[in-house]
Each structure stands twice: as structure tokens, then as C-alpha cells.
């Protein structure tokens, strides 16, 4: 069964990617699954300089989901290039780096440092992190902000560029079109939804930052709707994510128009879920007499 799909010039062996910030650098899951079976791994958000992230507490469980306020904790791109990349580069899967920053120069700086690493299959430009005060989501909430980052990164990065969109906007299709016009090879959506939860007994917010990013199956119907809207608005591939817990959910995103999917929060609950989803898609195609994974993309009939 041919599960491969194409994101621009990049061919993935199957449509299942692991979402940035939910899968470490892949190694954390090597005890549980054969990483080579994944379509790709999108590593933790990487910035030009090391970031300590936000203070603890950073997490609250919510109905059918969770809030996080990690705040892009990472050791910086130099550490990634020197210490992590050599350890993960030989996995037989598409290694993608999620690139984050507080300024356009930050994004460009990370890309320049990654340029020339021949095993980086793509970058995912994160203009959608809700948990850092400067940059991040602020670039992703206006068309001009998205355009400015994406066009600058386009000049600095010759390879496949995915732009990760925030759902915390009035019309996500406008932002997606701006990213496409500025040279994105694909868009991924959605990042987390801005949310908040209060410990009523202590009368305090659960998160040190008060607000955080909501993920998990509670956001899935909204994310599916946005993927459907965006896939009808742009000509580049859409990568769908938001609360995918199993193979059925992954198929749902593809039927809505996604070329590939990302599995995020579900990795926390079942560290083997990503490969189970790969298996499910193969079985589904067989069960429905479909020739390949491409036959699923936007295949919802109304």
C-alpha cells in the first residue's frame, strides 16, 4: 500500500508527522516505537539563543485536553546543530525543525544556522506560539506580520518551508493566503488555542502565565473546520493537526483537505499512538479500496 504524500518537493513515506513540542527530538520515544516508521518528526521549537521558558507551573488538565505554557524552552540552535542533530540525523524519517523567534532576524538566524544540514527535510516556521510575550503568535495574527516573517525566511532557507498557523485569529484563511503569497511550501494548522483555567479553591490561575495554549481532542472539531476552510483557500498543501488521538481522527483531517497530519498531545497519553495511526491509515485504505494515501486528501463528499 502506497502511503506516501508530497509536501512541495518533499516526499514523505506516510502522512503521519509528530507535532513540535510533543515529541522531544524523537529519541524520547525510541524505547516505545520504531521512529523509522514515521512520516516525519518535527522537533521541539528551536530559537537562535537558549530559552529557559516560562516558570512552573506550566500545565493544567482540562476537559478532553490540556493547557500548556512551556514558552519555547530549548537550548538554542547551536546546541541543536552540535549535539542533537548528529544523534538524530540518521533516522530514516523526515527530520523537520520548528523554527521560532521573537524577531525576523531571529528566524533568519536560525535558518542560516540550519542551512547546509543535509538531513533537515524541512523547516516549520512557528508564527503561532501563544506562550511567549514577544514575537511568536504576534507575527501570525496579521497578514502583514505573517508575510514579513515568511518572505524573510524564504530568502534564508532554500528547502521546504512549512508555516505553522495560529487559530487565534478572526479569519485563518487570510493568514494562510498571506503565507502562501510570501513563499510558503505548505501551511500547518492549528497550533494551540489560547485558553485559561482557574483553581477555584485556591482562587489562582493554574498556569504561571495565567493564559496558555489549549490542545487535545477538545479542539479537534474547530481544527478540522479550519483545515477544511484553509484547504479551500490556498493551492499549497495543508498539514492538519489539533487533537488527533487515533487513526480515525487522522483520516478525518485528510478528508477535510489535509495532505498530512501531525500527532501532538496524544503522544503524552500513548507513546505508541503515532505508529498505530500509520497502521490504521494503511488498513483504512485497504478496507475502502483506495489506491493510496493521496486518495484521502479532501475526499469528503457533501
Amino acid at each position: 500500500m502506497d502511503l506516501s504524500v508530497n509536501i512541495g518537493k518533499l516526499r514523505l513515506k506516510n502522512p503521519v508527522l509528530t507535532a513540535s513540542g510533543t515529541f522531544g527530538y524523537g529519541e524520547e520515544f525510541a524505547d516505545f516505537i520504531d521512529l523509522n516508521r514515521l512520516g516525519g518528526i518535527i522537533v521541539k521549537g528551536t530559537t537562535l539563543y537558549p530559552r529557559q521558558g516560562n516558570p512552573y507551573p506550566r500545565m493544567a488538565e482540562t476537559p478532553s485536553g490540556m493547557l500548556n505554557a512551556v514558552g519555547l524552552q530549548n537550548k538554542g540552535v547551536d546546541y541543536f546543530v552540535e549535539n542533537i542533530y548528529p544523534r538524530i540525523k540518521d533516522y530514516d524519517t523526515a527530520i523537520m525543525v520548528n523554527v521560532s523567534g521573537a524577531s525576523i532576524d531571529d528566524y533568519v538566524g536560525v535558518c542560516e544556522r540550519l542551512q547546509g544540514l543535509d538531513r533537515i527535510a524541512a523547516i516549520e516556521v512557528n508564527i503561532s506560539c501563544p506562550n511567549v510575550k514577544q514575537g511568536g503568535m504576534s507575527f501570525g495574527t496579521t497578514c502583514s506580520g505573517a508575510e514579513s516573517v515568511v518572505s524573510a525566511v524564504r530568502k534564508a532557507w532554500g528547502g521546504t518551508m512549512i508555516v505553522k498557523l495560529t487559530p487565534n485569529v478572526t479569519d485563518i484563511t487570510e493568514i494562510a493566503r498571506a503565507a502562501e503569497a510570501a513563499g510558503a511550501d505548505a501551511v500547518s494548522l492549528t497550533n494551540t488555542f489560547l485558553g485559561m483555567a482557574i483553581d477555584v479553591e485556591r482562587r489562582r490561575p493554574y498556569l504561571s502565565t495565567i493564559t496558555g495554549g489549549l490542545s487535545g481532542p477538545c479542539i479537534r472539531p474547530i481544527a478540522v473546520r479550519m483545515v477544511w476552510q484553509v484547504s479551500n483557500a490556498v493551492h499549497i498543501p495543508v498539514i492538519g493537526l489539533g487533537g488527533i488521538m487515533n487513526g480515525r481522527d487522522a483520516i478525518e483531517f485528510m478528508l477535510a483537505g489535509a495532505t498530512a497530519v501531525q500527532v501532538g498531545t496524544a503522544n503524552f497519553i500513548d507513546p505508541q499512538v503515532s505508529v498505530k495511526i500509520v497502521d490504521y491509515i494503511g488498513d483504512y485504505l485497504q478496507r475502502h479500496n483506495l489506491p493510496n494515501a493521496n486518495a484521502l486528501i479532501g475526499a469528503m463528499t457533501t
Binding site: T22, F32, Y56, N68, F268, I269
Partner: protein, 254 residues
């Protein structure tokens, strides 16, 4: 090596109405090697109110059984305390970095409330290594001093209760043993204020001390970066992978 395994609840032993001891055994396969102070992540079955797994400290493990001592502290632990015998549970284990076993001299294991859980296996392992181990266990009242017989079988055990119904009257941190006895190493697990007070005594007396944190976590394997603890040497580190057991010298406790 970490793994996801199904376990069956062989017995659910209630301790009063606040605690339960779950005795689990693997549905198939053999128990992985676990170290004292490590923990497991349990998927709470048939629970609409929980989404994430629940991190639970390992109370005891051998080649056949895994024991988890659980206190009711929320919807997840409530459901686990009420779990019927025969239920199958999905468990991720073993997780985290446990207590040091290469310790020397007089070793005191200090536990408070359900925090005594990992100290039972730790004590047994240390005794097997020929180390002289004493336990100091604290609770609100005598009926909440859990597994006292098992601790007494393992080593000399002192008790402190807040209401004075058993042993020393007062908090475990006011027990004379902590101030007077010759101690070379302390391993401690309990409520955060208790661990901080024990750490302060240890620091003052120059005693090597390890504590087990229970920071709120999602994944339990270093992927989500939610359970971080600020350390003196490396800033924010995951309590789930670098801990839950930390030497107090690494912690920014004052």
C-alpha cells in the same frame, strides 16, 4: 527500557477511606527492572473526567508484582482508589531517575503521608546492600501511618503523628531523630513543605539529602517540558526525567 504494558489489578487494599494499595501484575510478559524512586504513568480506565495519565510512585516491585500506594487527591486518584479487582490498566514504566543506592554510613529515610510509598522499596534495596537504614514516618494520625508493619520488618522505624496518637507528637520535622542522630544521608518524600523543612535541616547539619518531587506533569518522559524544576546547575529541567529524585544541592530551595 521504558515500555507500555497492561497490568491486571490483583488486589485493591483500602487503607481507611483516603488510601488504597493496588497490587498489579503484568497481563503478559515479565516485569521490567525498576529502581526505587521511579514512577509509572497510569491511564485511568473508563474515566470521562481525566484526560492525561496519572503519575504514581512505585511502592514496591519484584519479578511478579507492582505495588502502587495511592491517596485520593483528585478525580484521577479517586478513580484509581476505587478500581475493582480484575481491572486491566495500561501502565507506562519505569519512568524517572530514582534515589541513589550507592550511599554510605547512617541512612535515614523520611516519609510523610503517602510520600512514604517509594521509601519501602528503597529501604529494602539499601538493606540488601548491607546499609544501616532507619525510617522516620510522619502522618496526621495513627491510622494514616501506612504500611507500618512492612517498614518495621525492613528496619528500625520511628513515627511522628500530628495529633500524637502514635509516636512523637508533632510534625515529622520536629522529631528529635532529625536533630540529634548521627546521619550521613537522608532520602525524603512527602508534602513539599515537609521536604523543604527536612532539606533545611540537612543543609544546616551538612547531611547529604535527596528529595522526590511531584511536579505536575503531562507526558512523564521528557517530551512536553511541563514539569520543570529550576536547578542551580542547568536552569529548568524535567522533573520526570532528571528527577523525580533530586539532590537538594541542585534545587533552588531557600
Amino acid at each position: 527500557m521504558k515500555t507500555v504494558m497492561d497490568f491486571v489489578v490483583k488486589e485493591n487494599v483500602r487503607h481507611g477511606n483516603q488510601y488504597a494499595l493496588l497490587r498489579l501484575s503484568p497481563v503478559r510478559g515479565t516485569m521490567p527492572e525498576v529502581a526505587p524512586g521511579q514512577f509509572v504513568q497510569i491511564d485511568v480506565p473508563n474515566s470521562r473526567a481525566t484526560f492525561l495519565r496519572r503519575p504514581i510512585s512505585i511502592n514496591y516491585a519484584d519479578q511478579r508484582e507492582l505495588w502502587l500506594l495511592i491517596r485520593r487527591s483528585g478525580v484521577g486518584t479517586n478513580a484509581l482508589c476505587d478500581i475493582p479487582q480484575g481491572t486491566t490498566l495500561s501502565v507506562v514504566l519505569p519512568l524517572g531517575h530514582g534515589f541513589s543506592l550507592d550511599v554510605k554510613g547512617n541512612v535515614l529515610l523520611v516519609g510523610g503521608g503517602v510520600g512514604i510509598a517509594p521509601l519501602l522499596m528503597l529501604g529494602k534495596r539499601l538493606v540488601m546492600r548491607g546499609i544501616d537504614v532507619k525510617f522516620l514516618l510522619g502522618a496526621r494520625t495513627s491510622t494514616e501511618v501506612l504500611q507500618l508493619d512492612l517498614f518495621r520488618q525492613t528496619g528500625e522505624t520511628r513515627v511522628a503523628t500530628e495529633d500524637g496518637s502514635l509516636g512523637h507528637h508533632g510534625l515529622v520535622t520536629t522529631h528529635p531523630l532529625l536533630e540529634q542522630a548521627e546521619i550521613d544521608h537522608i532520602a525524603c518524600c512527602g508534602p513539599l513543605p515537609m521536604m523543604k523543612a527536612v532539606a533545611a535541616i540537612a543543609r544546616q547539619r551538612g547531611i547529604n539529602c535527596e528529595v522526590s518531587l511531584e511536579n505536575r506533569m503531562a507526558c512523564g518522559m521528557g517530551a512536553c517540558l511541563c514539569c520543570v524544576e529550576d536547578t542551580t546547575d542547568s536552569g529548568n529541567v524535567c522533573a520526570c526525567t532528571e528527577g523525580p529524585v533530586f539532590n537538594i544541592n541542585r534545587l533552588k530551595w531557600t
